[in-house]
Subunit: 140 residues, 2 copies
C-alpha cells in the first residue's frame, strides 16, 4: 500500500529561518511554498530525492496562528517532527482499506495537500502516536 | 548531501505488536531484526521502497530498559517518531561538513547502525528539535 516515504513534516516557529537552515546545512532546495488556510499553515517543500514512485521531501510548517493544529503542537511539544507522509497510488482506496481494519481516520475523504496532492490523515492514537498522512501525488 | 529519507525511527512499547500493526495495516515487510546493546534498543526494519540511492524503511524501536535514550523518550513523550535518518554517501565526510557549519554533533565519529550501516546522530537542539541521523549504507 505504501509506495514511499513522501515527506517528513516538521513544525517550526520561523519558516524562513528553517528553510535557510536546511538549505545551508544539508543542501536541500525549496521546490514549493504555499499557504494552506484550511490547515492553518505556511509551508515549504524541500526536495530530498527522486524515485520511481515519486519524489520525497522535507516539509517545513509554520502555523498561521497559535490556535491551529501546528500552533498547538508547537506550544505543547516545541519544534520537531509533526507528521510522516507516505505515498499511495490511490488515497481514496487506501482510506477505505485502512478504515476497514478499524483504524480511526482524521479525514474520511481526501482533501487538498501540498503541490496539488490529494491527502488524508490517520489518527495518531491508532498509529502508535504517529500522525500519519497518505499522499496521492497530483497527476501532471 | 542528503540522498534520501532512509528511515523514520519510531519508538514503541512493544516491538512485536507494532510490527504486526505495520504489516497488517500498511503491508510493510520486516527485512531485519536486531538488538543494539550500545543504543539500548530492540529494533526491526520494515521495507517501504527502493530507489536508485538506496531503500527506505520504517524502523521500529523498543527500549531494552527504561534507562535508555528510547526508554526516556517513551516516558517523557509516549510512543511516536523518535528520529529521522537520511542517507548520505560518506558519513565521515558529511559529519565534517556539518560540524564545520557549527552544528552540534552527538557522534563525532560514525558508529554501528542497522543492517551494517555506518551512522551518526546530530543534536536535535541544533536541527530544529529533530533528532537527525546520517546513514551510510553498508557496501555488499
Amino acid at each position: 500500500m505504501l509506495l514511499r516515504i513522501d515527506h517528513v513534516g516538521i513544525a517550526c516557529h520561523n519558516l524562513e529561518e528553517k528553510i535557510e537552515f536546511y538549505e545551508t546545512t544539508f543542501g536541500l532546495t525549496v521546490v514549493s511554498r504555499e499557504v494552506n488556510e484550511e490547515q492553518g499553515v505556511r509551508e515549504a517543500m524541500l526536495h530530498v530525492a527522486d524515485a520511481p514512485s515519486g519524489a520525497s521531501y522535507v516539509q517545513l510548517l509554520e502555523p498561521l496562528h497559535p490556535d491551529t493544529a501546528v500552533g498547538k503542537f508547537l506550544a505543547k511539544r516545541g519544534e520537531g517532527v509533526h507528521h510522516i507522509g507516505y505515498g499511495v497510488a490511490d488515497v481514496t482506496q487506501a482510506l477505505q482499506d485502512i478504515a476497514a481494519k478499524g483504524i480511526k481516520l482524521i479525514d474520511e475523504r481526501p482533501r487538498h495537500g501540498s503541490m496539488g496532492a490529494s491527502i488524508a490523515f490517520l489518527h495518531p492514537k491508532d498509529v502508535g502516536g504517529v500522525l500519519t498522512e497518505l499522499v496521492e501525488t497530483a497527476r501532471h
